[in-house]
């Protein structure tokens, strides 16, 4: 190897981590708790993601769902492709490759002293949970914490026990909705934007953090514009095909931005000249 390269690490080399807990959150989403085999916790911040791999099958970007205030690393993996299908077969004690963490973080410092409104659609709750838990673990640093959660159908709801615990807390507000009515559900029915009028008075001055399926952003942003939330106060967590995670492979580009480096968390006002973003 040449001299100038020998001091650099291999940016594509994963570290091994062991599955310490696993459980299905619903029919398609697997929750994993991992510990790094190095014995040291991964140094990440809320909003970031890791590249998860299973040697021989492949690698994919997965959001971090845990908070750095807790031990270990928590991920939620939807069974949707060949890699995630294989990950779903893994048991406690099995190992995964982890690279990262990568990408930008939620504005945990700027948000101090401010009210936070999390708008989560479906699996979008997964990365948002990282900041929600972080804020709860630093409760006095933040103002009100409001969480709006929309899920397609009753059976796909995520983190049910945890959400029930959140709902019992007096220092946060959690509103849930499902798109399709269900016999066991007496809560709000409709898409996540139907929850926005219920908290409209809380929106001015709050930081609003959005994560959900691509279609959701358009509608949530319209509602927030109507509620006159300034674009500087809105953060979106975007998904693209972050294949390499290190700003090289080109797959996650939205116009001139690399989601793996400039995102996944973007301040919405920074996306004014990025038409491919939303």
């Amino acid at each position: 190897m040449c001299e100038c390269c020998s001091g650099h690490p291999d940016i594509y080399l994963p570290q091994m981590a062991t599955i310490t807990k696993r459980r299905m959150l619903n029919g398609t989403e697997l929750f994993l708790h991992l510990e790094m085999d190095s014995g040291e916790d991964l140094q990440y911040k809320p909003g970031q993601f890791v590249e998860v791999s299973l040697a021989g099958i492949g690698e994919a970007p997965i959001s971090i769902s845990s908070s750095p205030t807790q031990k270990g690393l928590e991920l939620v993996v939807r069974n949707v492709g060949s890699l995630t299908k294989a990950i779903h077969k893994l048991q406690v004690g099995d190992k995964l490759g982890i690279r990262g963490p990568y990408g930008t973080t939620y504005p945990i410092e700027e948000a101090k002293g401010k009210d936070l409104v999390f708008i989560c659609g479906g699996i979008g709750l997964v990365p948002q949970r990282s900041f929600i838990r972080y804020a709860l673990d630093h409760r006095s640093d933040y103002g009100k914490i409001i969480v709006l959660i929309g899920t397609k159908c009753y059976s796909m709801r995520l983190f049910r026990e945890e959400i029930a615990l959140w709902q019992e807390r007096r220092d946060m507000t959690v509103l849930e909705t499902i798109d399709e009515a269900h016999d066991c559900w007496d809560g709000n029915v409709g898409v996540v934007t139907t929850l926005i009028p219920k908290i409209e008075n809380e929106l001015p001055g709050s930081l609003v953090l959005i994560c959900g399926p691509p279609i959701m952003y358009k509608f949530v942003l319209i509602s927030l514009a109507e509620a006159q939330v300034p674009e500087e106060n809105i953060y979106v967590n975007l998904e693209r095909r972050m294949k390499c995670g290190v700003g090289k492979c080109g797959h996650c580009q939205i116009n001139d931005k690399y989601v793996c480096q400039d995102g996944p968390v973007f301040r919405y006002s920074d996306l004014a000249l990025v038409p491919e973003a939303i």
């Binding site: 940016i11 594509y12 080399l13 040697a55 021989g56 690698e59 290190v246 700003g247 580009q253 116009n255």
Partner: protein
């Protein structure tokens, strides 16, 4: 070190000596009526008069398929560095400009050791163009000639003699094998200058009507221009323009399991942003499903996004390969940029 002058015979001897260094020498040779870079077996096969190669010499700094890691299935991975000492002989200035851009892209931010290590072990012997290709427009892009970035620069003079200018330690190490070559005279250097002036004028089969440095500004105002839709209507999304482009460097990463079913490797392979599923994520959501959006993305990357990332130099070097490779005849960047220029108000 002074510039050396070879007669054609002396140059053949020099190439034969290079072939005995034990390092593979990759050089342009005839291939089915066209030209391609490949391992050189004898000096007689070298074609200093080639117009353009089918694929750019990019394939030696960023191979079509490159192993990054080896592993036991579902086990830990180990880094693989595939790079080996190599002499890249006969690289045209526009292709060199493209390699220099790629060096910066893989070096900046997260240092890509796989690329950089391979690159560090390559000695580049550049070559001023002897025969202009049918679609070259390097003059328009400022890459018809180069003043740095090579280890040795070769220039074929009108009388058939060849000048060799070693610019780096790696180049000087090779030029020591030059044998009976003599120092070039003042007149030879003037003749070389004439070649540069000539090439700067004639490598321009398509003429960009503005300085390339204006392209980011032109594109800034052209996002919704009708040309994207007009051109892309004919696009087959075949990705040929990506494959032959010396500045395209997007790649895919995949795993492959060996026949023993126990071991395997993770590799990267060239990908192309014109291909339909380039921006598709798991769950089958395609973030750039419109052909026009993919077509536009490529020309924005060349003219705006990459230049802004690497300090201004436009990521189209004017080799003209995409123009020749495109079945639908829509890939000519000059045609598109000129059209946008017409409709742009530059303050």
């Amino acid at each position: 070190m002074s510039v050396l002058k070879f007669t054609p015979k002396q140059f053949d001897d020099f190439v034969s000596t290079l072939l005995k260094t034990g390092r593979p020498v990759m050089a342009p040779q005839a291939k089915n009526g066209r030209f391609a870079f490949g391992p050189l077996a004898s000096a007689a096969d070298l074609r200093l008069d080639y117009d353009v190669t089918i694929l750019p010499p990019k394939k030696y700094v960023l191979p079509q398929v490159e192993t990054l890691l080896e592993f036991e299935v579902c086990g830990p991975c180990r880094s693989v560095q595939e790079g080996e000492p190599m002499i890249l002989l006969g690289v045209h200035p526009y292709d060199l400009a493209a390699i220099l851009q790629m060096d910066e892209l893989f070096r900046q931010g997260q240092y890509d050791k796989h690329y950089m290590d391979r690159r560090c072990q390559i000695t580049i012997i550049a070559l001023d163009v002897v025969t202009p290709s049918a679609n070259v427009f390097a003059s328009s892009m400022g890459t018809a000639t180069v003043t740095s970035g090579y280890d040795i620069l070769l220039t074929v003079l009108k009388d058939g003699s060849i000048l060799a200018d070693a610019a780096t330690a790696k180049g000087q190490e090779l030029i020591r094998l030059a044998g009976s070559a003599v120092p070039a005279s003042e007149a030879d250097l003037l003749a070389r200058k004439a070649v540069w002036e000539h090439n700067n004028a004639v490598l321009n089969k398509h003429i960009l009507l503005c300085k390339p440095s204006l392209l980011p500004k032109v594109l800034e105002q052209s996002y919704n221009h009708p040309v994207w839709e007009e051109k892309a209507r004919l696009c087959y999304s075949c990705g040929s323009c990506n494959q032959v482009c010396p500045t395209c460097y997007c790649f895919d990463v995949q795993d492959r399991v060996n026949w023993d079913l126990k071991t395997g490797y993770r590799f990267r392979a060239w990908d192309g942003c014109l291909l339909e599923n380039f921006a598709t994520v798991a769950g089958n959501h395609n973030f750039r499903k419109d052909r026009a959006a993919r077509y536009r993305h490529r020309l924005y990357r060349k003219g705006k996004y990459v230049p802004e990332k690497i300090g201004g130099q436009i990521a189209c070097v004017g080799c003209g390969r995409c123009i020749s490779a495109c079945t639908a005849k829509i890939a000519n960047p000059v045609e598109v940029y000129n059209r946008l220029l017409q409709d742009t108000k530059l303050g």
